[in-house]
Amino acid sequence: MQISKKLKLIVALTILEISITVFSALEIAKGAKFHQLNFLHLKHYTHFSELLLSIENGRPIVTHEIKSAILNIKQQPIECIEQINILNKIVMRAINTIDALDICIKDIKDADSALTSLSKFNDNEVNKTQLLADLTYALKAFKTNSDDFESPINKTVSFLLTTLIPLVILISIFNIIFITYLSRTISSSIKDLTTILWSKPEDNLNLEDSLEKHTSSELKELMTAARNRIKKELFNLENSKELQAIVNEKTISLRKANEELSQFAYRTSHDLKSPLSSAKALAQFISLDIDQGDLLEAKSNANKISQQMTKLETLVVDILLLAQADIGSNKQLPIDFDAMVVDMTERLSWLRKDNPCSIDINISLSRVISSEQIRFSQIIENLISNSLKYYDESKASPYVKLDIFDNDESIFINISDNGIGIPQEYQREVFSMFKRFHPNKSNGSGLGMAIVKKHIDYLNGTITFESSSQGTLFKIIIPMTT
């Protein structure tokens, strides 16, 4: 049986018990009421008897006084009849005490005939003697009625006491036993469930089966709801942890980006301002040189201004390239690497002039690569121009070598040289912005490798290098989806 049904049954039994107890109490109280009414009847009878005696002794007849005394007597049987309900009648018939009711009816009739006699006397239909005889008769009848009434009422009341009180006690005992039993069954099913839940997972290979066998349907429902709720809460908890982790990660990367940006802004403004202040000073010197007639010095200073302006131009171009490297374009076009390399070597002709390096290019691709050409072009151009700038004058045949090849997943770009190499202590800063490690040789913006790194990050690729005084090898791997 379900727990809720058991609880409902307990409530119903309790209500029944209370009802029977209250009913019994009321019925027993009714027995007392009958006795009380009979006592009252006797009292009014005494009053009526005294009144009659005083009339016989010569007191004048006051009809309304007599009428009131009779009506007082009549009141008790009326009330008594009102008290008796159908159930009482059945019980009284069963125990043979129903004549109490007849006595009441007879009493009322006796009162009525006395009242009739009194009204006849009023209408002068009977004389005083007749009236007194009628009233005396009624008086005797009232006395007889009261006496007769006592016995069946006593019998009825004692019957009620001997039946209802044991009944109430019996029902109470039954209720106590039955309710105790029901409570036990409820608490034991809860205990069983608790035991199942406390058991170690290995003792209880199949929780579902155990629940099926040992728990009532309501507890099963409770368990299912609880499990679902817990699952949901755990899921939410995991979710919120995940979110927190994402927020932390983003915060760190934003902070890093912010620091990078602030460093970038500082270095950019510095590097932009530097050639301008130099040019300003040089222009003043030129003016002085001309005044002093030193045209050679003036010319030399004009050349210096020109160099500074070239430096500025390179820097501005590189800053723009770096900014664009962060912006994606959807131009996924087939790349003609051969043509790209030819264009690039032409663009680097200014660097190749007076440069002894040979450039060896091997392109071996199994398929057409579609991507953003400009990124590949800038990666390769920056690395090759570095190799050209930092060649080793002491070596017999300086070279730069470019290999481009692929497999099913990736494209590989290797750029190697036998140049002066990147000093060991600066290798971790290779991809930082505005870093140059060869003060005598560098004339770039210090942004080239940062541009390369940005492009490779954008393409989800990797770049690694090995460098020593023997030379440098950069290895780039960029995943290619087919």
Binding site: R267, S274, S277, S278, A281, L282, L288, F434, R436, P439
Partner: protein
Amino acid sequence: MDKKHPPVLIVDDSEIDRYILKRLLKESGLDLTIFEKIDGKEALEFFEDYEENRKKYPDLYPPILIFLDINMPRVDGIEFLETFSHLRKYIQVDSCVIIMFSSSERKEDKEKIMAYDFVKDYVVKGSLTAEELKEKIMSVTLLV
């Protein structure tokens, strides 16, 4: 030490900036001996080889004044100052003071730099005339 040609050191990676400073010094009329180093690393080596350089430049070493750039490859101006402040405990350079000579002046860098007692001034490139430069040099060194 030769009082007529007091030695100064210019540390700057930009050849043009070194030229500009040299020219300003020349126009200021101060008769100086000028050493040039292209970054902090070379400048530190110049002081690390103290004994050797004393012999090499008997009357001109160590310099009495360093013009120091900040943004340089390898060892920058700030890193130079850090190492130089340790170096000063081991070599006799008490009379050597520094004037910063840079294109920029970032507040946090400047505070850090000016905390060294041997850094006497901070000059922004292109902000001084030869005459003003002369006055600054005179005020931070004992040149008369």
